[in-house]
């Protein structure tokens, strides 16, 4: 992993009091080039749908698969510079 690679985390404010969430869908495929600030994934905490924005521009690596449980500190993906 290069030093410029950015980890994708679900922002703290999305979690509320919850410790767990569920990955729903990825809008872009593994390896796709994504743009900073665009919605790249959807996840769910309690009954609320959370949009995950790309924290940087670059090539997407998906780590958390749809329908899996994730927690606060889980890195759901990475974005590497191109």
């Amino acid at each position: 992993m290069s030093a410029d690679t950015v980890e994708i985390l679900v922002p703290d404010e999305a979690w509320g009091e919850s410790l767990e969430g569920v990955m729903l869908t990825w809008i872009y495929k593994d390896g796709a080039q994504v743009t900073e600030g665009k919605v790249i994934a959807e996840m769910m905490v309690e009954k609320a749908q959370i949009e995950v924005l790309a924290p940087a521009s670059g090539r997407l690596t998906i780590l958390a698969q749809p329908e899996t449980v994730i927690n606060r500190s889980f890195v759901i993906g990475r974005i590497a510079p191109v």
């Binding site: 729903l24 869908t25 990825w26 495929k29 959807e42 749908q49 329908e67």
Partner: protein, 346 residues
């Protein structure tokens, strides 16, 4: 609209796809507005309006009290006065209190005014059961709405069709109803998104014509006609039957009104057998209308009696096993296909 060719393919849920179409049309039409319950603050019970109040403000994304009679009356009057309302109703079950505005005003004003008034309004409505929400939150009601002339009704089965059909609805100058089965929205609390309902959705605007069915799978032994969620059940049934050497064609109506009668007849004339799968009540509904197409045009194309897989004429039970028993699920569709293969013309 400019299309960014560097943009990688986007896989959308149906909620996101429909929303993208509404946002795009609202940017083009300053007289278009969205009205309904829990849309501005919450973004829609089923995620149909997430982020829209931020972009368009609460004058164009209007949260209403729980008063469908009131806000559908408002929307109908606004449409007659030259605006383009989009009405969000999370559950089709609640449409009963709005029938006068819809049936007698929205659907008939264009005709009764000799074309002087149009009613360009689009309903976005959730329907269907399968998640234990009981008799007043699980109905489908295609036939109830489709029976009255003057209303177009579509029900996409994947995200690509959801966006294209929504553009067609929003560009139409009279009443259109865009309906999505709740289990297809792609919302986590209603079950995980069905992989087949997620599809690649282009960034540019596009339309899908009303009354044009879509063949999801070609086959030669039997046609299954479905719409919405039953298309997915039919596809699973077709996979199972293929392993026994039975070749199934799956036809998605996409539009309830107008119905693609030519498309239905073409497929049945080819395969000679027909199963129709619909989650609306059995009697006086879509399944009967599809059978009527074949009966009226040429019943001799049928090698065996057609079979309907619809909701029994009973209220939707709350109990999970009782509801499962009633739904037009894969098991019932497979059994129906087997019945058509056994049945032979006398």
């Amino acid at each position: 609209m400019a299309h960014d060719h560097n943009e990688p393919g986007r896989t959308f849920t149906m909620a996101r796809a429909g929303r993208e179409a509404v946002i795009s049309e609202m940017r083009k039409h300053p007289n278009m507005f969205l009205i309904g319950e829990d849309i501005a603050k919450l973004g829609g019970v089923f995620g149909t309006a997430i982020g829209m109040a931020d972009e368009f403000g609460t004058a164009r994304v209007i949260d209403t009290p729980i008063s469908e009679t009131g806000f559908i009356g408002i929307a109908t009057g606004a449409a007659m006065a030259g605006m383009r309302p989009v009405i969000e109703i999370a559950f089709v079950d609640f449409i009963g209190v709005c029938f006068n505005a819809i049936f007698n005003f929205a659907a008939k004003t264009h005709y009764m005014s000799g074309g002087q008034y149009k009613t360009p309004m689009t309903f976005m409505i959730g329907y269907g059961g399968g998640y234990c929400d009981a008799a007043q939150h699980s109905q489908t009601l295609f036939a109830t709405l489709g029976h009255v002339p003057g209303i177009k009704i579509v029900t996409p089965a994947d995200a690509y069709d959801a966006k294209g059909l929504m553009h067609s609805c929003l560009q139409d100058d009279n009443v259109t109803i865009w309906m999505v089965h709740k289990r297809l929205w792609g919302l986590g609390w209603l079950g995980f998104p069905l992989p087949l309902a997620l599809s690649e959705v282009p960034e540019h605007d596009y339309t899908i014509p009303f009354g044009q069915s879509r063949i999801w799978r070609e086959g030669k032994d039997v046609t299954i006609v479905g719409l919405g969620l039953t298309v997915h059940n039919a596809m699973t049934a077709a996979d199972q039957l293929a392993s026994e050497g039975i070749s199934v064609e799956v036809l998605d109506l996409r539009s309830v009104v107008p119905m693609d009668r030519d498309g239905v007849f073409r497929s049945v004339a080819k395969t000679g057998r027909l199963v129709v799968a619909d989650e609306d009540y059995m009697s006086f509904g879509v399944t009967a209308e599809v059978l009527a197409v074949v009966a009226e045009r040429d019943p001799s194309v049928l090698k065996a009696p057609a079979v309907r897989v619809a909701y029994p004429d009973v209220p939707v039970p709350f109990s999970r096993p009782m509801e499962e028993f009633c739904l037009p699920n894969v098991e019932r569709i497979v059994a129906a296909v087997r019945a058509t293969l056994k049945g032979a013309k006398k």
